[in-house]
């Protein structure tokens, strides 16, 4: 599949926005869906639907096999050792909450420290904050350098004998900084500290290899990977999934239930209580096939070229300031314009069909650190082109014209 012609695989681009072609630059928020994924959901509901893992009838068996196929596809896609290390969740947020809750319950005590970074999305901070309230743990933040990067040194500086887990993003959804996860993991493991990676932005844009990264937990958001909403993945090393307590209780996650006692199911059932997002899981297999057909190597090459082009364009544009200047940068271009608030930028760009996000992007800690209340963010996906970035730039110029800036 050729990436240069990929837009036609996404039905959304057949529509106009305010009578303009859609220039979709909000993929860090959520990506658009290729036709194969949308069709798969329709086909499953119209021809193959059944709940999974319970009944023995024909449809149930077939649906269960499809559901488990996706687990194996995900395992291969991220090079996990074992398919049972893949847990489906309702989103990356739930994946992180699962870790914070179960690890917190079993491994954290008053005064223990969780080390996060200033780049973290609220979903990798708020779940830990609950433990600050309930267990009296402490939360520390590794500080960004002047480029908006988190280095191994900034992590090392904040490690103490009380550090019990490190939670880091793989790729910042604001600055685009790509973190040295492998180095962080190696260092953390030398101190016996497990590492949780928020891979929301990493998974759609980077080649993942869990065995190489060696992190203990990796959270994935499927709707940012050209997949359905309502679905996330927690990768966790088997030793953790075996050791940690269950997260939610309900049907499907049990072994034996008696009035006096309950045992829990084997992996991965132990962490998949209740009816799961069956159709989404089955359709997500199409997202992975789709990405595999293009090849993550090509995805990375395409986006790297675009991000360099976009950076160049915006740097040349007077009064536009890029947020952060990380050494290794993923598919995110956050910026501010002196004299125009990001919300005004977003509204004016929208009129031209250019969809960006404005606000703090669920990263208030980072915006506070940078002295900003908000920023405008253009984020890329596989369907974007240089033409999209040219339109972004000309729409920014339109903005400046309305606000009478030079």
């Amino acid at each position: 599949m050729n990436i240069s012609n990929i837009k036609k695989e996404f039905p959304i681009f057949d529509n106009k926005v305010h009578n303009n072609d859609l220039v979709y630059l909000d993929s860090a928020n959520s990506s658009q869906k290729p036709r194969v994924v949308v069709d798969r959901i329709y086909d499953f509901y119209t021809k193959e639907f059944s709940n999974v893992g319970r009944s023995v009838h024909y449809l149930a068996v077939a649906a269960t096999n499809l559901y488990e196929n996706t687990r194996t596809s995900v395992q291969k896609f991220i090079n996990a050792k074992d398919a049972n290390e893949i847990v489906f969740t309702k989103g990356a947020t739930e994946a992180i909450n699962l870790v914070a809750s179960t690890y917190g319950q079993s491994h954290l005590n008053e005064g223990d420290e969780v080390l996060l970074t200033e780049l973290e999305h609220h979903s990798n901070y708020v779940p830990w904050h609950y433990l600050r309230k309930s267990k009296g743990i402490k939360i520390k933040f590794a500080e960004i350098n002047e480029d908006g990067d988190i280095t191994l040194e900034s992590i090392e500086k904040k490690i103490t004998p009380r550090t019990k887990i490190i939670g880091v993003t793989h790729l910042s959804n604001v600055t685009g900084a790509i973190l040295p996860i492998k180095e962080i993991t190696q260092f953390a493991h030398s101190k016996n500290i497990p590492v949780l990676v928020d891979g929301c932005q990493g998974a759609p844009h980077l080649k993942l290899d869990m065995q190489d990264l060696d992190c203990d937990f990796y959270a994935i958001s499927c709707h940012k990977m050209y997949g359905p909403t309502g679905l996330g993945i927690l990768y966790a090393k088997k030793k953790w999934l075996e050791k940690l307590p269950p997260y939610q209780g309900g049907g499907g996650m049990i072994g034996e239930v008696k009035k006096e006692s309950i045992t829990y199911g084997d992996l991965p059932n132990k962490y998949e209580a209740g009816t799961m997002a069956t159709a989404q899981v089955i359709a997500f297999d199409e997202s992975i096939k789709f990405l595999n057909k293009i090849g993550m190597v090509n995805v990375i090459k395409h986006e790297k070229e675009l991000i360099e082009y976009g950076q160049e364009l915006l740097r040349k544009n007077n009064s536009v300031k890029l947020v952060g200047n990380p050494k290794k940068k993923g598919a995110v271009l956050s910026f501010t314009i002196d004299g125009i608030h990001p919300h005004d930028i977003a509204t004016i760009l929208d009129e031209d069909g250019v969809a960006i996000r404005a606000g703090h992007h669920c990263c208030q800690i980072l915006h506070d650190k940078l002295g900003l209340t908000s920023s405008a963010r253009a984020s890329l996906g596989i369907y974007n082109t240089r033409d999209d970035l040219d339109k972004l730039n000309s729409s920014i110029n339109n903005c400046k014209k309305i606000f009478e800036l030079k």
Binding site: I340, P342, H343, D344, T347, I348, T373, I402
Partner: protein, 157 residues
């Protein structure tokens, strides 16, 4: 209504050079407003005299052109009004933003009404309505002192 009409001269002028952007000395009423979705913040200060007349009103804060212009225009026309009059103007403005096209109250001069009606265009941009109403809800709160901080996410408009 198109974008150019929303971002017209009056809004841009007040957005860029907000009037009354300062802190009233000896204020006796104040309230903070916050929109957690975009981070817009406003802090309104009021000085009501013994006849419940607004002797001075000012605000501090940061936000988009719409929210800054709205606060600027609001503070300009509230000055000198009595408490009950202030409430009538607030209600009239919020009704206009929600469903009507006009400002009805007789408490304002025609040119003042025109200024307020510049903001009616945000109706076309539902995500931006809260930008225009934040300072008005905060003013209500300051006058009544019913709540310490207004949060747009707990309000209807």
């Amino acid at each position: 209504m198109n974008l150019k009409e929303l971002y017209q001269e009056i809004i841009l002028d007040h957005g860029k050079n907000p009037r009354n952007l300062r802190k009233t000395e000896n204020f006796n009423k104040d309230a903070k407003g916050y929109n957690p979705l975009c981070g817009d913040k406003v802090h309104i200060y009021l000085k009501l005299n013994e006849n419940k007349k607004v002797e001075d009103i000012s605000f501090e804060g940061e936000g988009c052109a719409i929210s800054m212009a709205s606060a600027s225009i609001m503070t300009d026309m509230i000055k000198g009004k009595e408490k009950n009059e202030v409430k009538e103007i607030i209600n009239d403005f919020l009704e206009m933003i929600k469903e009507k096209d006009e400002i009805k109250t007789n408490l304002l001069k025609d040119d003042e009404k025109t200024k307020l009606m510049c903001l009616s265009g945000v109706k076309q941009y539902p995500m931006r309505v809260k930008c225009a109403t934040l300072s008005w809800h905060t003013l209500t709160s300051a006058i009544d002192k019913s709540q310490n901080e207004i949060n747009t996410e707990s309000l209807e408009v």
